[in-house]
Symmetry: D2
Subunit: 144 residues, 4 copies
């Protein structure tokens, strides 16, 4: 069971709670470990595109923060992180249920961090399906 | 002055109006031409990250549809388009005002289309600043 | 022990032997399985950049074919594959020894395939180091 | 006519001459300006794939250095540049003649630079064709 009072969890959660967009879309934090973060996003009209599947932009946003928060768990104490760039491939169109995004740190450099994020769709009946794969470059920045 | 009754305009607008996410974020259509689309997104809490600048995910979502709708203007009549993948570089952190995204078709192939999108920030005082640059692969799909 | 007379091995090898560039750079096939291919590239002046480390272009070329050949193992009999696009992050600068590239299929769609490739450097003394990570879109094409 | 004795030209050329791979492939410098570089690569067996068109890896390598050298023209005196990542879309398969790659700086930041490169094929009869489009992140590094 995830210890939600751990310093790592609080570091990620306190940032997520300040993200207006993610609060708005109902994104929740599920797991935090060194170099790894799992987030969920429920299906709703707010994340839908014209055919009532999850919007690519919503999947991109979710993958972006999954990778970014994975990086944050390995950034020097007090630093923030910012996304330099990301690239995402969409693997399937999914509707209903929710998305699970798992961000992982591949390289934790001082100047640049490289991460990946996988998005899996969990349908209402529990069926799992790969939805998207992202590769990302993160820059640690000293908080002002 | 853009002719908002043109067939191209209506083709793009009717899709945009069905995108729950984009309606939610206040995205508006400004210009539609063959191979080119311009969209705007106003700043609000719904597109903000933890430091009150536009969320990278919001910029990614906006760039995604700008490129996608540019492709739609060149897809065979009746076809839809879907995003295979995109890659976006962030150039600056911006807050307030609104974003302008210009999507352009680079190659309109039968099986794949390649597009780019540039996002520029327009501050409340009119100051312009380059915000993001995207490169994307789009697949035309026959509407069922 | 890899069965070098298997149909999959021969399918990949016969294509690799026709690639002038890869023959020139000394690239060798080490492993072929359904959805997975491993290739090696020895260090030489032909793949060096100005500081005598492996050229990013050489790593990109190696990753490109590792992903492409992994896709080829899952393409319909008789089809070829072509690269639509790839994105590569460089993780370390490496010199001497050789590179090992492992290409894997993430999604084998009819119209598009998504792959990844990891490049690891093996130094003369056997030390291993992650060098590069690639994500790629492949298009199966009917051979004429 | 390009002044081949300019400091910018010499800065780029002296690096290019040290790149074993690029010398090997016959890459030549055609134009150097602040934030822009043009290079050419002749068709040969050394850059061919299995169907005798330019290898995607050769195009990736050429685009990589076109963007990188454009960045070098805007990096602080004495600094080198290194590629963090790039993403390339292939637009056409081309054979014979030569490739022209034009690298441009989109953003010249202190910590990161963003560039693009366009590759155009020039056939033996002078016909031009768009071949590839790249988007790249470059890191300026202090020379040791």
């Amino acid at each position: 069971m995830q210890n939600q009072t751990s310093a790592l969890w609080q570091r990620v959660e306190s940032s997520l709670l300040k993200q207006g967009m993610m609060q708005h879309l109902g994104v929740q934090l599920l797991e935090v470990a060194e170099g790894k973060v799992i987030l969920s996003m429920p299906y709703s009209d707010k994340v839908a595109q014209q055919q009532n599947t999850f919007h690519g932009g919503a999947m991109g946003a979710l993958a972006d923060i999954a990778g970014g928060y994975a990086a944050l768990t390995m950034a020097p104490e007090g630093d923030e992180v910012t996304t330099s760039e990301y690239k995402i491939n969409f693997l399937a169109a999914c509707t209903g249920g929710h998305l699970l995004a798992t961000g992982k740190v591949i390289k934790a450099g001082k100047r640049l961090m490289v991460t990946t994020a996988e998005i899996v769709h969990i349908a209402s009946d529990g069926t799992k399906r790969d939805c998207a794969l992202m590769q990302q470059t993160i820059v640690p920045v000293v908080k002002k």
